[in-house]
Every structure is written in C-alpha cells, then in structure tokens.
Subunit: 334 residues, 2 copies
C-alpha cells in the first residue's frame, strides 16, 4: 500500500501537521524533530501525493513554458534549462506551443491557466512582449519570468546585452577590413531583431561609415528568409563583402545561397550569424557567431520565478554574458 503522510507521522511519533511542516520547509520545527521526521520519510520512501497537496494548498507545483518559436534547437535548450531549475525545487514543467499572432492568443493562455493552473509561467520571445497577454497576467496575478523581453522594467528573468554583442561582431568584421557590410534583420516581432540592428548601426556610425539602406534586408529568422535576403544582396550593383545575419539560421541560408551563386565563403564573402546554435557548426565553412547561453537563460529565468513562487524573494532580471565565437566563415576583406 502507498505510504501516506499520516503513516510517516505515526512512525516518527509526531502529528501529521508536523510532518507537513517539515515537508514544506516551514520554520518553527525543532532541529531534532525535523531530523526524526526526515529519517522516517527516508526509511519509508515517502513521497507526498501531488494532487492532495495541490488541492489543499491551492498550488500546482508546476510551471508552464510558453513558446512560439520556429527554432527547435533554441527551444530545446531553453526547455532543458527550465527543467534543471524545476527539478532542483521539485516542480514540474509543462510546455505549451502557441501562435502569438492568432486572434485568440490571450484567450488560449487564459484557458491554459484556468484549466491547468500553473503556479507561474516562463515566457520566451516573442510572447514576452505581447502587451495584451502581460496585462492579462497582471490582472490575474499570475507570476511569470521572461527570457530576453524587450521591456525589462518590473520584470524578472534573464537577458543578454544584445546591442553590445552585435557591436562586437561588427568590430570584428571591421577589423578584418570589411566596409560594405550587409545586415539581415530578424523577425519583426522579436526584440532581438531591433537590438541586433541597433548594434549594426552603432558600429557603422562609430567608424564614420554611412548607413546604406540597400545593404539592410528584412528576414524572419528562418533559413529560407536568409536565402531570399542573400539573393537580393547578390543582385546589387555593388555587392557586400560581408553579411551579418541576425541569427544562425539566416546566416546558414546566406552560405547556402552563396553556394548556389558560386561565391566562395569566406574568400569572396564573409558571413556571420548570432546565437551559436548547432547549425553554426554544420555549415561549411562553420559560422562565426555570438554564443548565447540559452540553456543557462532558461535555468536562470526559472530559478527567479521559483524564488517568487516559494516566497523567498521578489526575483530579479539577471544579465548573462555572451561570447564572440570566431570560426571559418569570416576572413579578411579582399
């Protein structure tokens, strides 16, 4: 038969409530009592029934990770990080794919909260920046942590200094002698797209170089949009000597299009990406990129959320470091 809290209490010679206190790490339990109870739990291999705990305490001990992201590698990394944090605190995680552009997006999240009752949410871009959703969450008092949101004020989670990362990538290309550097912008709904473009522009103006609109093409973070953008760039009268794509998938698309166009990378064209996802090591040549510690960001954001859920602190917005990863797709300008 299954071991219940009551059984542990009897074995330890205390009341059920005391076992409950130990289970919930509450204060006001004498050290010796706590030890005794823990020993009994251990000996009986006790684990509390989640549904009973949830029903009595009105908490689910679960967080939900919301995403609308085409990149499976990014998602998997984030998910792994969140799981690491949840495991550490005996929380579980559910995942929920969503379409942020759908008419009933907020209603769907609302329904999720009503039906599954997660204690908190982990938001990933671009869901992090949906005003209607954020308003609804505040209204319902649902705690959440955001990963790389556009607005960081009064929000907990994890972020990176993206404009600075983009500037460093540009500094790298400029140091290699490149002056006609193109940029492929990411999906408009993602904050990252704006930050990476801003870094690109900053770097140009720091060097006293003019911003040439012909060299800046819209993409949407997908491989195919990188291919399309590259074709457009290759058709210019004066083609660029380097392309800085706002993510690795698009940069891989540029390399693909270069193959199609008979351009040699990096001899005739330098290409670099952003994120350091697996694809950056699977192009030929391999991509120079910015390493974004996605798994760590997932873990850090979840830990901040759990701080709030456990009532230990209000949580904070944590900055994580990036690193420039130089590989073979970039070389000196011709």
């Amino acid at each position: 038969m299954r071991v219940r809290l009551e059984d542990v209490a009897r074995a330890a010679g205390v009341s059920p409530k005391t076992v409950s206190r130990v289970l919930n790490d509450e204060a006001n339990v004498r050290g010796t009592t706590r030890t005794k109870v823990l020993a009994a739990m251990q000996a009986m291999d006790y684990s509390p029934l989640l549904s009973a705990r949830s029903l009595a305490s009105n908490r689910s001990f679960m967080v939900a990770t919301l995403y609308d992201n085409p990149s499976s590698s990014y998602l998997t990394e984030i998910q792994t990080g969140v799981l690491e944090a949840c495991d550490q605190h005996h929380y579980s995680m559910m995942v929920r794919p969503l379409l942020v552009e759908a008419k009933d997006f907020v209603e769907r999240v609302d329904a999720l909260i009503s039906h599954r009752r997660p204690d908190g949410l982990i938001l990933t871009p671009p869901i992090t920046d949906h005003p209607g959703l954020l308003a609804r969450l505040h209204e319902r008092g649902v705690p959440y942590a955001s990963i790389s949101p556009i607005w960081r004020d009064d929000t907990i989670g994890a972020f990176m200094d993206e404009p600075q990362a983009a500037r460093e990538m540009m500094a790298n290309l400029l140091a290699l002698g490149h002056r006609r550097i193109a940029h492929i912008i990411g999906h408009h709904a993602h904050g990252a797209s704006g930050w990476r473009l801003a870094g690109y522009r900053d770097a140009l103006s720091t060097m006293g170089l003019a911003y040439d609109p012909d060299l800046v093409v819209e993409g949407d973070f997908s491989f195919d949009s990188g291919v399309a953008a590259a074709r457009k760039l290759f058709s210019l009268a004066r083609t660029p000597t380097a392309v800085f794509a706002a993510n690795d998938d698009m940069a891989a698309g540029v390399i693909w299009a270069a193959g199609e166009h008979g351009l040699s990378v990096p001899r005739e064209l330098s290409v670099c990406g952003f994120d350091d996802t697996p694809i950056s090591r699977q192009t030929w040549p391999r991509l120079t990129t910015i390493h974004q510690p996605s798994r760590k960001m997932g873990r850090v954001a979840a830990l901040q959320l759990l701080e709030v859920l456990r009532g230990h602190s209000d949580g904070r917005m944590v900055q994580v470091p990036f690193t420039l990863q130089t590989r073979e797709s970039t070389a000196a300008a011709i």
Copy 2:
C-alpha cells in the same frame, strides 16, 4: 469566486454526481439531462479542478514523454505530436530528458513515476528498448506507448517500415548507376541503425553486389560522426561514388567533409540521408532523404496510449508511411 461542480449541479437542478457523470462521459445519463448539464457548464464557464479530480480518482490526467535523443528537431516534432493528442483529450504532458546509459536510469524513471504519477508514458528511441525499464514498467503496471521500438510485440505505439525505406533509398542510388555505395551506421543503441543497415545489405544482395566492409563505417547519428566517417571513406584507395548515411545529420556531415576535401556534391559524390529533418533542406545541395512523419508518430502513439488510459481499447501498434524525398544531393554516377 471559482465555480465548482456543486454550483453547476445546483444551476442545472441535478446532483453533483450527475454532473460528474457528464464530465467523465459515463453512460447512464439521459440525453436531455446531459444537454442540460453541458449547457450549465458552458454558461458558467466551468472547468474542473484537476487536483481534486486527481485526488478522488487516483489519476493525474498527465502523460510523460521520456527522451534521450541528441536531435532537437526530432524531439520537438515528437513532442508537438504528443501535445496535439493530449490536448484533444484534455490531458497534459510533461517532458523528461534522461540518460539511458546512466547507472541509475531505471531508478530515475521509477522516481518520476512515484513523484509525478503520470497516467502513462511515451517512450522514444533508444529508451523504447531498455529491457530493465520495460520490465519495471510491466511490474508496476504503468501503461506506455513506444515510438519505433525494436520489439513491437505486445507493445502499442507507432512505427515505420524502416528496412523497406532503406531499400528504396538504395534502389534509387542503384538506378542512378552507383555501384560503390558506402553506408554510415547510426548509434548502436537505436533500432533504426540496424534496420537501415539491413535495408542497405538487402538492396546490395538483391542487385548481386558484394558487401564491402570498407564501405560501411560506424557513426552515432551526430553531425561530427558523419564528418569523421566521411574522412575515413575519402581516404580509401577506391572511394565510393555515393554515401547513404543512416540519418540527415550524418549526411550533412558528409557534405561538410566533402567541402573540406574539395569534392563536389553531387557531381563527384552523391549523398543521402534519412528522416527529412530541417537540416536536410539547409545543406547545399539539399539532401535526398526519407521523410519520416515524426510529428504524426508522436500523435499516433499518444492517441493509442490515451485509448488505453481512457479504457476505450487496448491500443495497437500503428504503422505510418514514409516517402522518398529526392533533392539535389544525389545524381547519376560518373
């Protein structure tokens, strides 16, 4: 205040038990009564509290997807399929990464079952084939569905005719005039590796071609292992004119190594993969491969599991179709 089952019962003028019956799709409820109750639920926007339902019925209305798989795209597809099925039946899903080679693998799953109490499990390769785990699950009476397990007897889930798919891929290469065809084997723990190798050998013997051990190299499904295998093949006295890799990642590694080695694909070397993951469209040239409907397999496996959990049937092992996807990485032999 939150709407409870009791409130719905009062509104509908029936007893709580009747509302419960409607909620659980039980028989012995008159049509008019059912309609009346459903209307009340709708009107009051009622949704049952999962924890109360779980506590009373001793079910969690949740399934757990177990994986130990290096491929994030495969995993994401499976996960999406499982979620589709779960949503349809108001179940939720949790995901659990595991190391099948870890000493305490079975204990970890055991602990997961004790703590989270999923109603059932979805197993993905190679977890599908861990004898110790399967024994433990039978012992505990935990229902599960398997995706592409090696042993399909007495197991529910989804599978593909992999040997046949490999034979068709080989037939395609042979029709292009290739006679020195190499094969890169996948990870030894995965059933897929054996099936795909078997298909390769079958096709050779059907054509009356000798099996040349030099042309068969071990890999582990990773991109890097594809690179390493290709380097080995390129160093042979008589190099192959085509390489059939057991998955897309390794095939992409072959294309990468071909770039490194100055070999033109498909002019000097045809390359093909298996699975039709996104990477197969992101190499240059794009990969000829076998389309494996992973998302569908996830959905189908989960639906079979849910059949069992809902007591509607015993579930079955469902075969899903593959398709040969011809792209630019294969061409006639020189």
